[in-house]
Symmetry: C2
Subunit: 398 residues, 2 copies
């Protein structure tokens, strides 16, 4: 048996070796960037007008000039114009390039334009006002984005700005989601009294989908010969195996033996945690990574978020979010195990308050209705006081 920290360390020490793939930039939301993104030009690329109004030469104003004949209009998207007479002005639109010979913008609100003459209504101007200067955000060639970040819509838009029609991101490992358990029937089947419907694989698939990670589902019977043959084939054909069920002490819990027989080297079996104690982890000779999770639904689910999601992000060189939440009520847990306590989160005065939602203890998904995630209560204590902060893992995104 290993501790939660030991299990974490072992898992993170065995990252996948992700390929890099090139995809259209607008499909890359949530994907992890695998290249540096540079500014292909200065940003802004030119001295850019930020208010609709007129552009003048500031020295004219400084010399006492208050009325400027309108020579021309500089629209956004038009080639740069030039002020012919330094005592005149050019009307300028937001987003336009600043006309040559001008250096200062006065807003429409601050001038009166009649018969092509603009009279300035304000007493104070600053040289260079209402301009974004060329290169102020970034110089051509500078790094805008580093590899390892998950792309948000703002970064997608930044890719568009620099003309990256295609972008390199980390490819997801080819992944099998494998459930076992003879008590399980399909979603569209009518279960016998002693049967239940398969659900864990869908929870894993859904949690993967939150990251755009796809997996292929398999369901295997609790028969050792069948498991041996099937898992040998599945292991050969995938980079990652996520199993649910069959890792406990039961007579038909063949998974750990079968995995070792097909050449997956066990790195741990059993973690001092509740739920999820029978968790098994190993790596095959060919470097395939195998997470064999307990079949209890809440165990499966928590282990995915606690271990597998960070494993993937770590493989991509991305830093998993590190969150904490504050226990909102006193709570006790006596076994000498790290306790993953399911909680509902309320944000109170900017702080994440974690309200315990222990449910009925059945470990079924019906218990998670009001849970937003779980906090991690360490194994060396039994009583936990309201007000203390603990590591928090969320299930729900957004």
């Amino acid at each position: 048996m290993v501790t939660v920290q030991e299990a974490t360390d072992i898992i993170l020490a065995n990252p996948g070796k992700p390929r890099v793939e090139t995809i259209p930039f607008h499909n890359s939301i949530g994907r992890v960037l695998a290249e540096k993104i540079m500014a292909d030009r200065d940003f802004p690329p030119f001295d850019r007008v930020t208010m609709d109004g007129i552009a003048i030469a500031f020295d004219e104003w400084k010399a006492g000039h208050r009325e400027f004949a309108v020579e021309d209009i500089q629209a956004a998207g038009s080639p740069q114009k030039s002020l012919r007479d330094v005592s005149n002005c050019i009307e300028v639109m937001t987003g336009a390039i600043l006309p040559e010979g001008t250096d200062t913008v006065i807003r429409y609100e601050d001038v009166n334009i009649q018969n092509d003459k603009a009279t300035v209504l304000v007493q104070k101007l600053e040289r260079g006002q209402f301009l974004h200067r060329q290169g102020n955000d970034a110089r051509q060639g500078s790094v805008l984005l580093e590899p390892g970040i998950a792309l948000s819509p703002a970064e997608i838009a930044l890719l568009a700005s620099v003309g990256k029609g295609e972008v390199k991101v980390y490819a997801f490992p080819k992944t099998a989601i494998i459930s076992s358990g003879d008590e399980l029937v399909g979603v569209n089947e009518e279960p016998e009294l002693y049967q239940i419907r398969r659900s864990n694989a869908y929870a894993i698939e859904g949690a993967m989908e939150q990251m755009k990670w796809e997996g292929r589902q398999y369901h295997l019977p609790d028969r050792k010969d069948f498991l041996l043959d099937s898992l040998r084939v599945i292991e050969a054909d995938h980079d990652v195996l996520i199993l649910s069920g069959g890792v406990s002490k039961g007579k038909f819990d063949f998974i750990p033996d079968v995995l070792e027989e097909i050449g997956v080297h066990r790195l741990f079996h059993e973690v001092s945690q509740r739920p999820g104690k029978p968790f098994w982890f190993g790596v095959s000779k060919k470097g395939k990574v195998v997470f064999a999770l307990p079949g209890n639904p809440v165990s499966t689910y928590m282990c995915f978020y606690r271990y597998i999601k960070p494993w993937l992000l770590n493989s991509f060189g991305a830093k998993p979010a590190s969150l904490e939440a504050i226990l909102a009520e006193d709570f006790s847990f006596t076994p000498e195990l790290t306790h993953f306590l399911q909680v509902a989160i309320k944000v109170e005065q900017g702080c994440l308050k974690a309200y315990p939602q222990p449910g009925s203890g059945s470990g079924d998904f019906a218990n998670l209705k009001h849970a937003d995630g779980f906090i991690e209560l360490p194994s060396n204590r039994q009583h936990f006081k309201a007000g203390e902060a603990f590591s928090y893992t969320p299930f729900r995104l957004g």
Copy 2:
């Protein structure tokens, strides 16, 4: 000009009228549920064994009996067996139905089994231990999920458990994303010095994709005749129009006039906020909802998260998340406008600490690199102290 609160109220008072669609349950991650989900049977559906071990009749133990002959094995997924002799036991596996005639489970760790005789090694048992009783999570016919919640992977798995192969969710309105601005060129084009690439529409599309909401992009030139014809057609063909650009005071900012000319009734123009002051909102005679956002990239982006996302969730009867973050450094903002201050969030002792990331003020996406979202500083003050909590809107999910 309206206040941020007035703008919010007006927008929420004009929800869409979403259709309901029926989709495969495993495609419904993140979608908003449009029906009640009931328990189709008791959960658990039978008295379920939670540990591998043996099942006995507790009264036998109470009467002093410590050795139980193993009669049979009750596997998970097998029909219920019966204890023939009340002084015997049946081996039971996690997930199995409890055999008839037994009422208590003893873990393998607490018995010694040799020659089909199980000797109990512990001094204390509780009647009914290591069982999940039928109906303990939910009774048949009780409501498991209410309409209006965004489905997380746990809820997808719950749908699987109750045999909902298909589920009713709210359909997204048919949505047009319309950018305008003659300075904009395509992502794969080489801009002239005075041009920039289109990016706002991709930011909106990406933010919509975070909710699985799809939109169709249009880019229109700054020509009034063209805008009139195009927007008339687009309005007829969509439920929602999200425009970016052309709503300010410039000579080529035709959007507000054009929208009114095609029959979109203005509900407000200009909000006392920075960025995003020129925001225009209206509803057409046919009930089409039109958000015309300022073309400044950060304005567009913030207005989407601050107004449009909550509008959609409200249309679905879902409650938008209400978050707060604590300002980590003193900050001043003098104009009498609500200030959407972009911030980086660090979670410290369970609290969301907001570090101001004002950027260069250009309002371009390059300024958002380090921003996770924005906090809302009210208009009636100029100085904001570290330690105060303000309403927080995140850009990044997960």
